[in-house]
């Protein structure tokens, strides 16, 4: 969006190692409020790891995460949630034996949001009303992803990290969720979207970061990215390699 806004999240020279392997190798980027930033890159390039570090699941091995002006690297997840960060998971992780409603209630009660959204509204907005009183285990994968999202939204995040939320949705559902994500950004929420579907990324993002081997290799609009030789190389190489 407007580049003069102060970033809500600033990541600099982030390093995350697993054993000797560098999953993140000096990653730097920022997001401003109301912006939808795309995080793209081949499988294994470190997108999920970046989300895991920013949401406090992993402590970084180097570099800095600054959220809303304060350091956020290595801070416990629940504290970051209270400060305004939330996320969804690539493989959805609802509380399986709890009902959909109870799943959301936990986040409403413990998420620390001052003006929490209403359950009815969340259920309605993300098409979970019919299954509200069923155990989350009964939902299909797309519905479980929506439940992850409503749980995140119940905590009123100012930074929302979406890890392949759209994977597995049909074209009509993609349009619908794209509209929802844009509506959230319009409220001032900063959103980072990890996605493989380029059409979807094109439709919703203002800007993308292309990752390869834990490093940023491009930053700009998707339209420019797809004309960068380095980006083309990585994606074609990536597709052949995997």
């Amino acid at each position: 969006m407007s580049p003069e806004k102060t970033p809500i999240l600033e990541v600099s020279k982030l390093v995350k190692r697993f054993g000797g392997f560098h999953a993140l190798d000096g990653l730097s980027f920022h997001v401003v409020p109301g912006e939808i930033l795309g995080l793209v890159g081949p499988n294994g390039s470190g997108k999920t790891t970046a989300i895991n570090v920013i949401s406090g699941l992993y402590a970084p091995d180097g570099g800095e995460v600054v959220f809303d002006g304060a350091s956020a690297g290595g801070v416990a997840s629940h504290k970051l949630v209270h400060r305004g960060i939330n996320r969804t998971f690539q493989v959805p992780k609802p509380f399986l034996s709890l009902t959909v409603r109870e799943n959301i209630q936990v986040a409403l009660a413990y998420g620390g949001a001052t003006r929490a959204p209403s359950i009815a509204e969340l259920l309605e907005d993300f098409r979970l009303k019919e299954v509200a009183d069923r155990p989350a285990a009964d939902l299909n994968s797309a519905q479980q992803k929506m439940l992850d999202l409503t749980r995140a939204l119940a905590t009123r995040p100012r930074l929302l990290l979406l890890d392949e939320l759209a994977a597995g949705l049909n074209p009509a559902e993609l349009d619908w969720i794209a509209g929802r994500i844009k509506a959230l950004a319009a409220t001032g929420m900063a959103i980072i979207v990890v996605e493989h579907l380029m059409g979807f990324i094109e439709q919703i993002t203002d800007r993308v970061i292309v990752l390869n081997a834990g490093r940023e290799i491009f930053e700009g609009t998707l339209a420019t990215a797809v004309r960068e030789p380095q980006v083309i190389e990585v994606f074609l190489g990536g597709e052949h390699a995997h």
């Binding site: 709890l98 413990y110 620390g112």
Partner: protein
Amino acid sequence: MHNASKHLLFILAPLVVVFALLPGVYQNHLLLFNFVIFLILAQGVNIIYGFTGYLPFGYVGFFGAGAYGFAIMVMHLHTPAPLAVLVGGVVAVALGLLLTPLLRLSGAYFAIANLAASLAVLHFVANPALEGITKGPYGVSLTGTFNPSHAYYAAVVVMALTVGAVVYLKNSPFGLALQAVREDAVSASMAGVNIVKMRVIAWLASALVAGLAGGIYAWYVSVFYPDNVFSGEFSIFAIVFALFGGVATITGPIVGVLILYGIYNLIGFTTPQYFQLIYGLLIMGLVLFLPAGLVSLATRRGWHVP
């Protein structure tokens, strides 16, 4: 009426009234006392296993610690029994605090480590070198506090508090959050739940009720050996009763104790020669056909079981 009030009125109150009145009409007071003790222990297992997913194979450690906490207060400080029972609870909580690092383990590792910890406490208490404090392996014989009838009513009070705690867990965001941690700790933290704190609270609450039960048990029997109050049977029975009825419910562990401990005593009286066989088959059948406990017979039909 709120669900919680309904649960207090229709589950907790009848249970307390029945067990408060039974000694007047039924002669075997020891049996009644054991029922109440197992109701407490099964609900204690429910709190830690049903709501947070930790299977406490060494649960008896808290019970034994409570019994010895009681005995030491009475022997050395001549503490009045009710106060000594509270100390028993405090001792168990202290042991629970000491064992909080175990909560980093999960599944079978936790269960085994907890079992090992309870054996360690047993051997510590039974150490002849501590004879001056615990009477070591020679056992405890308390004088001056013996009063089975008071001890029985104290047990009923603790049972009421324990069931009340489970009613709270079943009806509060706190209980919901505990279950969320059990289901998926990472997701629970993303719901804003401090998972370490929640686990520790549940762990200490279950330690407390077992410690109080142990203190009351010591009060009731007055004479016991380390092997009695640290007997693995307490852990196994409490776990089996809770699982048989169905955990993460209020009624499951109650039904489990009433039916299974009832049958246990019935077979024991009538056909002691087949006792182990029948009891073993029953438990096997349960694990095979009703892994989620008796209450799942109802929940499978879509009925809500409190």
